[in-house]
Amino acid sequence: MIAELGHLALCFALVLSLLLTVFPLYGSYRGAAGPVLLARPIALLLFLLTSVAFGALCYSFWANDFTVLNVASNSNSLLPWYYRMTAVWGSHEGSMLLWVLMLSGWTAAVALLSNSLPLILQGRILGVLGFVNVGFYAFILLMSSPFERTLPFFPVDGRDLNPLLQDFGMIVHPPLLYMGYVGFAVSFAFAIAALLGGRFDANWARWARPWTLAAWLFLTLGIMLGSWWAYLELGWGGWWFWDPVENASLMPWLVGTALIHSLAVTEKRGTFKSWTVLLAIAAFSLSLLGAFLVRSGVLVSVHSFATDPSRGLFLLFFLLVVVGGSLLLYGLRMRAVRSQARYQLFSREVLLWGNNVFLLTATLVVFLGTLYPLFHKELGLGSISIGEPFFNSIFMYLTIPFALLLGLAPWVRWKQQQVQPLLKPLGLWLVGALVLAVGVLSMYQTPSANVALLGLLLGAWVTMATIGEIQQKAVQLGGVPGLFKLQASHWGMVLGHLGFAMLVIGIAMTKTFSVEKDVRMKIGDSVELNGYTFMLTDVYTLNGPNYGGQAAELEVFKQGERVTHLHAEKRFYHVTQSVMTEAAVHARLSRDLYVALGEELSGPSWALRVYVKPYVRWIWLGSILMSLGGLVSLLDKRYRRKRNPTAAQTGEETHA
């Protein structure tokens, strides 16, 4: 009964999303206020109905209703309640429901918060969002309904949630990631709405920017949590595998990062308009491409859901409609998007353009590396895989000029900058960065570690240049109190750049100085790694709610002193008949100690994987800092300013 209610709510939601497409677009086409004003209640009702559907599925999982197919295949009565709740988005169908919940949530948020926009633009934005909604509601109702029944022969108990997903990461990673993916639909809607109207001004960029920042910060957090989760749960201590699905989330992130920078230029200088529009279209298209890659089964990966070619076909069709339609529209309206602003070769505009070029090159690299094996196979040239070195080396080479530009750009003025005045202060900061990097590295006494030196140098350069820029601003604004006059978005930029520096340092240090050892140990044996002594003290049988297995206890010493106690598990899940490794991690800012329990060997002895990973935390902390930067920028006062009617009518003249 409850499940049917959910299904019914989804059917109503599909109809509402159709209305949401038709009414406001018609209203803004005819210039009639009535139909446009209808959009807001429709959007809110759409979100309400989707919440009802989502609640219905949650209830079915909560109540162990195994007559619902989705519950029977992804849950079990032995599963603790919090994993039963996360199992809601553990399957393809459930995760699609989460997806549309997020999408209708963003739509409702746009409807609520777009008061300050001209009515016609509101109508267009909501209409485009309505169209995107139609696609996904049709998809979920036609090919992946989460409310199908197993009646009349329903199972007594469920087949349990995939043990990989029984983790805290599952509670937070998918919702945040989907918030990011789906959020780019809003940027996309802004871009298409502007193309439909043929009007781009600084106001438009100022409205689009906070939405894009919000989507970007969720995506950043989502990817970061996914990386952290893989590190813990896959048992191999890696934090990025260049897995096709990880790549699918990295591509919209890279383009989204380019987009927030390009939007900054459009807002401040009224230029880069067509570029911004194309990036907004690309970011959302890549989100859709990600959905297609994960859900169609063309790629094999840890993430892929049960495969069904018709689903892939639907998503591919939708992707083609979105990309084709928006590019066609862009082609028709290109003249309106022309920018007139002038700038010199050495100016912030050009440096930000450089930022975009590098980010898009990185996207192209990921795109090629992810899809090349697919084409290779389809063309009958045999199956191949692209090795990790490809991505690693190209990303290293791309990061060098990117980070150098990143440190420089905030110092450079819009329009035009003389080289001379920058040489002295920047030279000083560069020397400072060099001293810092070499100084830190000399503590490790391995001068041959080139990648680490490079990473430290780039990270230190970005950090120093960012701090230096703040110091310069302080001087200009009359001392430290003057810094309070800086806009929040400026502080957001500073935080974001510092986060990037931290990320680069973390990656370079972990890549260079991580040590790993697979060992065979008996109880009482110890192994030494990087100055740490790991002693296996006990191994015993586990007894969890829905799993058994073994647990190992280890003591870690450094120079005779006890550092910590580690507890690693190897779980055997009864229902799914599968084995999971729960790694033991002792985390500090400067290093992680990591132990994973392997199989039991004759003896009795055990295979253990032991790691010391310096600075691995910096990767995730850097990402958190970056998304914090996004949040601070988002909270800038100027995005909350009430509409100035005259400015909105005429468009602010910012052209120089």
């Binding site: 070769l345 697979d518 599968s578």
Partner: protein, 160 residues
């Protein structure tokens, strides 16, 4: 040509040169890092229409079913070797390290490594998917018509 235009021409051509150089480098790197996938019979008989066999020392991926009873472990270290099969020839894989959780005899796996001699591979990584019924799609294709028995059915619960 006025100086302004000349400057622009320089900038644009510079960018084009950089772009094409970058793209070339990228494609080169891509080709350098391609690992071909073989099944045991493809490794022995050659791949594709030209029956191209891999050379010793080449990096490659191999996927097949672990032959029951073929897993041999070293007494004192983590060294292990096992045989892989799909439709005919048998290939031996050597590995030093921890096998994945779902590595079992009769199960489909994929190994990444280098070719030691015609039928031996030194693996750097062994992958098994988190699904007892998993078979690498390429192996499934090669073994069309051959029934795959999930390990849980092949070895009833309770037998060692």
């Amino acid at each position: 040509m006025n100086p302004r235009r000349r400057q622009r021409l320089f900038a644009v051509s510079g960018i084009l040169v950089l772009l094409s150089a970058g793209l070339g480098a990228m494609l080169y790197a891509l080709n350098e890092n391609v690992d071909l996938f073989y099944t045991p019979s493809q490794l022995v008989d050659g791949l594709g229409d030209d029956k191209e066999k891999p050379v010793v020392g080449q990096r490659l991926r191999i996927g097949g079913m672990v032959v029951a009873g073929s897993v041999r472990r070293d007494e004192y270290s983590l060294k292990v070797s096992f045989d892989l099969v799909d439709t005919g020839p048998i290939v031996t894989v050597h590995y030093d390290g921890i096998l994945p959780d779902l590595f079992r005899e009769g199960q489909g796996i994929v190994a990444q490594g280098t070719l030691l001699d015609a039928t031996t591979i030194q693996a750097t990584e062994v992958l098994a998917k988190h699904d007892e019924n998993y078979m690498p799609p390429e192996v499934a294709e090669a073994m069309k018509g051959i029934k795959h028995v999930p390990p849980s059915k092949a070895y009833p619960v309770g037998t060692p």
